[in-house]
Symmetry: C2
Amino acid sequence: MLELSPTELLQELKPIFYPESIAIVGVSTSRPNAASGWVSGLVHAGFLGSIYPVNPRGGEMLGLKIYPNLTAIPGHVDYAIISIPRQIVPRILEECAAKKVKFAHFFTAGYSELGDTTSRSLEIEMIQKARQGGFHIIGPNGAGSYCPESKIPYAPTGLMGESGTVSFLTQSGGIGNTFIGSGIARGIKFSKGISFGNGVDLDGTDLLRYLGADPKTSIIGAYFEGAGNGRQLLNAMREVSKAKPIVMLKGGRTEVGSTVVKSHTGSLAVSSAIWSTALKQAGAIEVRTIEELVDTLLIFQQLGRWHGRNIAIASGFAGGGGGIAVAAGDICSEAGLTVPQLSSQTLEKLTKILGLVGSILHNPVDVSQADSKPATLEEAFEAILSDPVIDMLIIQEDIGILLVQSTKEDVDTINSSLINLKNKYNKPIVIVMPPSINEPERLQTEHQLAQGSIPVFPSMERAARAISRLSQYSGPDASYRG
Amino acid sequence: MLELSPTELLQELKPIFYPESIAIVGVSTSRPNAASGWVSGLVHAGFLGSIYPVNPRGGEMLGLKIYPNLTAIPGHVDYAIISIPRQIVPRILEECAAKKVKFAHFFTAGYSELGDTTSRSLEIEMIQKARQGGFHIIGPNGAGSYCPESKIPYAPTGLMGESGTVSFLTQSGGIGNTFIGSGIARGIKFSKGISFGNGVDLDGTDLLRYLGADPKTSIIGAYFEGAGNGRQLLNAMREVSKAKPIVMLKGGRTEVGSTVVKSHTGSLAVSSAIWSTALKQAGAIEVRTIEELVDTLLIFQQLGRWHGRNIAIASGFAGGGGGIAVAAGDICSEAGLTVPQLSSQTLEKLTKILGLVGSILHNPVDVSQADSKPATLEEAFEAILSDPVIDMLIIQEDIGILLVQSTKEDVDTINSSLINLKNKYNKPIVIVMPPSINEPERLQTEHQLAQGSIPVFPSMERAARAISRLSQYSGPDASYRG
């Protein structure tokens, strides 16, 4: 762990996310490889600083000169992305020192995760050379930095979304890829991210403390396989989680998983129960799958803190909502959410709007009798949101069915009115929209709602779990009470 | 319950799914309504029998004559779909008797589910008139029959998929809609389905026994809110589940859910624990969400019975699979699946194919080093499938990432080779393909794999849960041991 104050750390690690120049070592003009993928990703994303591809053979790619080595680059190099066979690494480490590179990110794998003596000593040599050369190492065996604000895409795959307030740190580059890909698709906007692999120099604690200090980060997601120095990590979590939710996925909770961990990032297994308890004490929110990680970050991004308790549920948006209302009531109750009776005034209003026959005037409310008419639905949703008992409204919107009965214009009208109602009453709305045969329209609608700060979940179960986590973190003492 | 043998029942209820003629009472030419939706659905689906729209005003729709009442129809009427205000129902019941309609399906709601005396007595009158008139009632408050083989779409929304071997019965029309919609999207092919609402005449037991006897049904899904005559239902389940898996979602497990149940189908609450125990004893498989219902039916459809035990998992199809391998190992272990070590011969083969550095040669296997090359991936998957220890292979295929590195042709090649390998080794392959920003390509690929009997799940968690259920039902005694 770096012995720096949060302010110093913010300054020291800044070039990881805001470099003025990036060198990419290991590009090839003859076949696609990871380094070339990075160059192409940076160019397409529109990275504003200098991009320096490096390969001993020289040449040119995408209109950029390829330098034979790091020292041949004319300007300074803040951040070097290195993807080369590990036997060439010692030479590149010398070059990094000579060039006074600030951060050397090694995508190259084949170190302590292999478990043999040679690999371990290569890793130790790497750390020593960095210390002597006065630069930091990210990785090895990681995918490095992601920062939409600086137009740095994630990994050789070039993933790039809009800039926002969610940041993450991950030991696994692959988890990062899956997680950012589905996060972007769901409407998560990332401030920055870092895949730090074996974390031999900059470790999880340093990076977590950086994100804790970063004013542009409000919510932190994390995937860890090992704790490194566990006490330091937990202390950092305890500090950071006071102000920002930390949502943590721990890899290697089981025997099967932890066997893989050893050869993945070389991390030591820590018992699942010990981790869970430690995370809870440190105020972090533990999740068990990538989907939960995305769901939980999404709800924090869209709803911020939520100090409410009582939830109303509406189904039958597009007819036939009775069974869905039953299922929703069961699932939310089983997730520990409070689904109270609506006030008698609200029930009276709803009876007027929806009529008695065929409607279910409880909470969950079946709004089938609105016959998918935008004006009637809006009235019904407004009646529910204006009930002082209610702090949040979950709506099951089955677009596959809705589109049979309504035009796309009607669907858009309804969703716009939801965004207006949410703002008018300052109460969150959460939409459950199951995948259906109308997937393109569903994705488009999800995107519109996401832009209006309405989170969309593919199932009631996932929505309920995410709300439950939001509710636990956002309680009166503003720390997680899971 | 009808006192009929399975063979008699099969004969008696046949016109629900194979009617020669359908009358639809309550159509309108001036505004879209449910009855008109049904007519349009039947016409578009290409129903081969006669379609008779009915409305007192007469006229014409979609080229069909509208009859002023049931008795004015020239031919016989096997099945009448009735969607009219409940005050007109008594008159229509008289018409059904006069016309000797075989089955009267009431989409109309407003009966015992409302809980008042008037509604209850209207329901009793309905049953009496049917008995006197010698016809059966389906519903009221249900969406009736679905049968792709006969070109009968589901509900006024006109849902229609391919014909197959999965059948279902549901008290809730809305659950049916959501469930069929997502089922079709995922590749489930239905033989027949029925939404029976309040089930005042034909009840869940009759319909379950019918599906048990039906030679075209191999797998049964069910959504129940109440048991009707619980003992009869459980006896029927015990009989049917010996030969066909019954996957059951029970609505109203919690206080919130069961309050809604009462006003939805008028069913009485049965404690969740009692239901769960009874279901297990009757050999049925209980699920808790619509997604699990779809997942479980899908895996039974695609894999049939599975008498294996040992599962191999591969990740990194498109690079960076270490963390995904860890997560997959954790999730499968936590779901109770067995993920054993591969044999040493297989590990040797994989080392030759994938190399040592950067690969994780355990189970789960990280195949990243294949660099998404179709030939190398095929070799690696074949090495795993040919291992005598292994009975099933789960592959995490992240198409969002894969498409960055490969062409759509390469992706298609890989997936075709998976279908071939599965057939060659006669061992099931299950694909986990998370939603991503390349959703249209993902859906297309999912469809191709589904056609090759490879089930695709959106997450490892859902795949693991479904496999666990398959494994429990398909054990040596071929009944569910959940």
